[in-house]
């Protein structure tokens, strides 16, 4: 079971800015732990967009979110199927994991029942959200992952909407105690 109170003391203190959080991950494992902390906070209707280049760590971060949230089966890349619907045993809730890597426009996402997925049936993780910008809901948490060095990544959290700001604040408190 994931321990939410685990220490990330090796990481730098976050850069504090209104409604934003800017942190560094030093390893794949740490990126996963950050994801897991966020995962513990998610509720139905939350939309988490994971942006960044191939190899930036989006699926790693998503897998962390899944483990923190409590998925029955570990999250793997949904590139092939475009959407993976996960469940957790505790309360039969669902979590949706989308990948827009292969899509070229916002219109194409409708074909997989995007509106239905957004209808608050569970939290939604979206990789490559920049491919479908126009279709994204206004209320969302945007996490940008950037490659700094082979193992170091910069994660920038930016929220739009009250719920996303709440998520950032709770995540910051859970991770850094501030």
């Amino acid at each position: 079971m994931y321990n939410a109170k685990g220490s990330d003391s090796e990481s730098d203190l976050p850069i504090l800015k209104e409604g934003q959080l800017d942190i560094i991950s030093h390893s794949v494992e740490q990126t996963q732990r950050f994801g897991a902390r966020l995962g513990t906070l998610l509720q139905p209707g939350d939309v988490i967009c994971l942006a960044g280049d191939m190899g930036a760590g989006k699926t790693v971060f998503a897998a962390g979110i899944g483990s923190g949230w409590g998925v029955e089966l570990p999250l793997t890349s949904p590139t092939f199927n475009l959407v993976h619907e996960h469940t957790r045993r505790a309360d039969a809730q669902r979590l949706f994991h989308l990948d827009c890597y292969r899509l070229n426009s916002a219109a194409e996402i409708e074909a997989i029942g995007f509106e239905d997925i957004l209808n608050g049936r569970g939290p939604v993780i979206i990789e490559w959200p920049e491919r479908i910008t126009e279709a994204l809901p206004r209320q969302r948490l945007w996490v940008e992952l950037r490659v700094l060095e082979p193992t170091r990544r910069n994660l920038v959290f930016a929220g739009s909407g009250k719920r996303a700001e709440e998520l950032i604040a709770s995540f910051r408190e859970l991770t850094f105690g501030i």
Binding site: V28, A51, G52, D53, M54, G55, T59, V60, A63, L73, P74, T76, S77, T79, F80, N81, L82, V83, H84, E85, H86, R102, L103, N104, E108, A111, I112, G113, E130, R131, R146, V147, L148, P150, N154
Partner: protein, 351 residues
């Protein structure tokens, strides 16, 4: 004698087949959408569903006609119920339901991965398979290592933790500017390349039978593309540029070697640990010649793999799996639903 009609539409192939006793193919028809999807760099769901709808009637009729049987000689209708794209699965399942209703034949919803497993029962039908066997399913959407102790009895030893093997081929192929699908094109380029030109990460030598190909993909990316200028992130969505001095053939060969090594190392180790009689390869990536050759050489066991037309998605494998499920008593009603996520385990059909 039991004759099963199989229908498969889980992804980008509309397929139907008639199989006798789970081992002999009477007919197998596949309408491929690969040309249609090549321009999307992969399967695109709405296009796939529409193409399935257009093709399915003719494909099923052709399969029944080519088998030289009438519906009265068919004992059961087996259809892929999952895993796969929901819109695509629905086309096959709804068609099968209509057919079951019209003909009064029993309906069976089959697991697509189990279909891949049973593609091996259609390969060399006269050479019996003795349990336990190890099955490695490697395709665009799946990487599964299963210990099979009897018909329908699977122990999942491992699978991918991130990208599927075929997905890694596709993504690296795209990175190298090779056409879709990545697998055969990387294999072709690799034949002219040096497999030790680049040192890409190998599988960790740990106790697990899980695979991870995301790190390999990232290593290739780092090796072959122009790094973004001094710490500045790449512009959003921008396609990384290949370095001028990169040999595509050498990268393809080195990447393929690293990926195949991971598959072979873990499978050979599991084969030894579980004392299996044979290794069965299935799925699109099992068409890879280097994988076949190295598996045989390094596991020291017989390795069985399907002919090319049974490696990729087809309905004969669904009919074959359907035969064993029919024999075991499985029957579904017309309320049969689709299961886009459906891992293959021993209790897959009961939970």
């Amino acid at each position: 004698m039991t004759t099963v009609l199989g229908i498969e539409t889980s992804c980008d192939e509309t397929a139907a087949a008639v199989v006798l006793d789970g081992r002999t193919i009477l007919s197998t028809i596949v309408a491929s959408q690969i040309d249609l999807h090549a321009r999307y760099g992969g399967v695109f769901p709405e296009v796939a569903s529409r193409a399935h709808i257009e093709a399915i009637g003719a494909v099923v009729e052709q399969a029944v006609h080519d088998a030289g049987v009438g519906y009265d000689q068919i004992d059961a209708i087996a259809v892929t119920r999952g895993p796969g794209l929901v819109g695509s699965l629905l086309v096959g399942v709804n068609y099968a339901k209509g057919l079951a209703l019209a003909t009064g034949k029993p309906l069976l919803g089959i697991n697509h991965l189990e279909g891949h497993v049973y593609s091996l029962w259609l390969t060399e039908p006269n050479r019996e398979i003795k349990f336990p066997v190890l099955v490695l399913i490697v395709s665009g959407g799946h990487t599964e290592l299963l210990l099979m102790e009897d018909h329908g009895q699977y122990r999942r030893l491992g699978g991918t933790l991130d990208d599927a093997a075929g997905e890694a081929f596709d993504k690296v192929g795209r990175l190298l500017g090779l056409p879709f699908p990545g697998g055969p094109n990387i294999e072709r380029a690799a034949m002219m390349g040096n497999a030790i030109a680049y040192k890409f990460p190998r599988a960790k030598r740990d106790d697990s039978y899980d695979f991870s190909f995301s790190g390999l993909k990232t290593a290739v990316l780092r090796e072959v593309t122009v790094p973004p200028a001094s710490g500045e992130p790449r512009r959003r969505g921008e396609t990384p540029r290949l370095r001028a001095d990169v040999s595509i053939n050498d990268v393809a060969a080195s990447f393929q070697d690293a990926l195949v090594s991971a598959l072979v190392d873990k499978t050979a180790r599991a084969a030894k640990a579980y004392q299996v009689t044979e290794i069965l390869l299935a799925g699109g990536v099992s068409a890879n010649q280097v994988l076949r050759q190295r598996m045989r050489a390094e596991a020291g066991l017989p390795v069985r793999y399907p002919p090319l037309n049974l490696c990729t998605d087809n309905a004969a494998m669904i009919a074959a799996a359907g035969f064993y499920r029919y024999r075991a008593g499985l029957r579904h009603g017309l309320e049969l639903d689709v299961k886009p996520m459906w891992p293959l385990t021993s209790d897959a059909y009961t939970r």
